[in-house]
């Protein structure tokens, strides 16, 4: 469950401020954050994900107001409740696929469950790549590993920032199916920020930032 009320954000050292519309997404449902570049999609995603703090208004996740958390508590909350997928599937290239995934529970302060890692890898068709180095993966495989990493801790929210913008139609279709499937399997709320019009038909719940008040 994501709930945004009276949210506004002022960028550092500028007079530029964005007022976001109120919205909420019930637990387990999917939402699309639409808007052109510069419309504040990434900013909103970062605020919801607890990466940005200096905002006005209320952002609650699972009935927890993020502003009420201390910085360390927010780090912890983020690690356990939120899974991020970025446009560039940035994986830690010094580590193998398996260790990249193990990093997720470790950094969130959760026990590392090898069976869970195997299960997630299997569900994404990556069993054989478990011991592979990141440099040995294809782009598609790397994206799947990034998705696996995001869902490994069974987060209640999955935030995806432009996951499809660099992909052709076929791969775009594949990735968005993967995301919605994975979110459904894990009972997570999925929020996708994009300017990619192709996704409109896939997720009905839309928050359009360009038509903000």
């Amino acid at each position: 469950m994501i709930s945004v009320r009276n949210l506004s954000y002022q960028y550092d050292g500028t007079s530029r401020a964005i007022q976001f519309q109120d919205f909420s997404i019930p637990q387990g449902e999917h939402g699309l954050l639409l808007g052109e570049s510069g419309s504040g999609k990434t900013t909103l995603l970062h605020i919801i994900g607890g990466l940005l703090r200096q905002y006005h208004g209320t952002v609650s996740i699972q009935d927890t107001a993020l502003s009420a958390l201390s910085e360390a508590a927010l780090d912890n909350f983020r690690g356990r409740q939120i899974g991020f997928i970025f446009q560039r599937n940035h994986l830690i290239s010094a580590l193998t696929v398996e260790k990249n995934l193990a990093l997720s529970p470790y950094l969130a302060g959760l026990p590392i469950d090898a069976a869970r890692i195997d299960q997630v890898l299997a569900s994404l068709g990556l069993q054989e790549k478990k011991k592979s180095r990141i440099s040995e993966l294809s782009h598609g495989q790397a994206q799947r590993v990034a998705i696996a990493r995001a869902v490994l801790n069974k987060p209640s929210i999955i935030l995806a920032d432009e996951p499809t913008s660099a992909l052709d139609d076929k791969n775009c279709e594949r990735v968005i199916s993967l995301l919605t499937d994975v979110a459904r399997q894990n009972g997570a709320t999925l929020l996708v920020a994009t300017h990619d019009q192709r996704l409109k038909d896939r997720i009905s719940n839309r928050i359009d930032l360009t038509t903000a008040p």
Partner: protein, 423 residues
């Protein structure tokens, strides 16, 4: 998965960088370790060997040479002194003990020392086998001499002139081994002890062939004819004998006054030279010290460069890793965790470098002590550990932390949102 595995994998991902950083530091640490082992052990040996000897009286010449020759037995004598002149000094009321030494020959480069039992007592020499030398041409071997020359009790050998191998051999007189000493960790281990008369005997026949071997005998009889007063230094010789010579005499003072007066009394005699072991070894240290200081300086430069290199490596890798760090923060890592991971990386590099350096330093000394006989004789070993090594270890760890501090602070301050948004 832990911070350590993370750090280890980051280091492993840049093997050349990691290796050069560790190597550079270990080189500096190894040089320092070698110098530490050598200088500490050498200093200890030198002071131990000179213990109980307040003054050495020899023939006019370099006082340092007198000390090197008569205490450490690694240099040639400055010449001989007349026995009666030595007696006169020994009689002085400021002298507590006087030990005569007659040098000149060696066996397999191990020096043969003509002296009396007081010399062995100086180093608390104890017998491991056999007996002390008693008659002419009997010898008692130092522990290391016995070990390295493989001479056994009852073995005969001819001495060679000088200290080096291939000196003129005195085949006419064969020494016989009657005793072997226990290791004393002193210069005693590397010498062959006999009485002064033996040294004379070997040399009289050889050096002064026109005067035959009975000369000593005749003189003794002559002395008996009047009243025979034995020399206080060598009882078989008459007091005041004007022909006999010794190489040097080791003195122990009765009181601190001796340190003030005796050297002056000795040096006033034109043929004699007094050398103070304390003063000369201090001078030796200061001469050696210049070389040690230069090497030390070199080692410190190496360490500073390696510190810089580690700093640059971390700083550069941090630039590449800004995104990694931001991702890790997005996955729940706290600022502190990220900060510690960078410090750990620096600490790991320097710890590995210093441990490797310490091992290499000890290894090098061990290798040297095992291979070179000269090093073996000094008794320097690589198996000795000094508390200073802890300082090296802790110091280098601190160096690593200091070098990693700036990159770590940068990692701590990283604005995750900006890094993640700004691609």
């Amino acid at each position: 998965m832990s911070l350590l595995t993370l750090v280890w994998n980051y280091l492993k991902a840049r093997p050349l960088n990691t290796a050069i950083n560790i190597l550079l530091l270990s080189l500096g640490i190894a040089v320092i370790t070698i110098l530490l082992l050598f200088s500490q052990q050498l200093e200890k040996k030198i002071t131990e060997n000179a213990k109980g000897i307040d003054l050495v009286v020899g023939a006019k010449g370099s006082p340092l040479q007198i000390i090197l020759c008569n205490i450490f037995h690694i240099d040639f004598p400055t010449g001989n002194i007349k026995l009666f002149e030595a007696e006169r000094i020994a009689k002085n009321r400021l002298v507590k003990k006087a030990i005569p030494l007659a040098l000149g020959d060696s066996y397999n480069t191990y020096r043969i020392i003509g002296t009396n039992r007081a010399y062995a007592e100086l180093y608390h020499g104890e017998l491991a086998a056999g007996a002390w030398w008693n008659e002419d041409l009997q010898v008692t071997l130092g522990a290391k001499v016995a070990e390295l020359t493989r001479l056994k009790l009852g073995d005969h050998f001819a001495s060679a002139h000088g200290l080096s191998e291939g000196g003129h051999a005195h085949e006419e007189h064969q020494y016989v081994v009657v005793g072997i000493l226990k290791p004393s960790n002193s210069v005693l281990d590397n010498v062959i002890l006999t009485n002064i008369e033996s040294v004379w005997k070997v040399h009289e026949e050889h050096g002064e062939e026109e005067e035959d071997g009975h000369e000593t005998h005749g003189e003794e009889e002559h002395a008996h004819g009047t009243t025979f007063i034995p020399s206080p230094l060598i009882p078989t010789v008459a007091k005041g004998d004007s022909t006999k010579e010794i190489t040097a005499m080791l003195l122990q003072y009765r009181s601190p006054m001796g340190a003030i007066q005796l050297p002056r009394i000795v040096n006033a005699q034109s043929s004699l030279q007094a050398a103070s072991p304390a003063f000369e070894t201090a001078r030796l240290f200061s001469i050696l010290g210049v070389g040690v200081d230069i090497l030390m300086g070199f080692a410190y430069v190496l360490i500073i460069i390696s510190g810089l290199s580690i700093f640059i490596a971390l700083y550069n890798s941090l630039k590449e890793r800004r995104y990694d760090l931001a991702i890790m923060r997005s996955m729940g890592a706290t600022r502190t965790k990220v900060f510690i991971s960078i410090l750990l990386e620096g600490g790991f590099l320097t710890l590995a470098g210093s441990v490797l350096g310490l091992l290499a330093g000890h290894g090098a000394v061990m290798l040297l002590a095992g291979m070179a006989e000269q090093a073996q004789r000094t008794g320097i070993s690589g198996w000795v550990f000094y508390p200073q090594e802890w300082i090296i270890l802790v110091g280098s760890l601190l160096l690593g932390l200091v070098c990693a501090m700036i990159p770590a602070i940068q990692a701590y301050r990283t604005d995750i949102s900006k890094v993640l948004a700004g691609h």
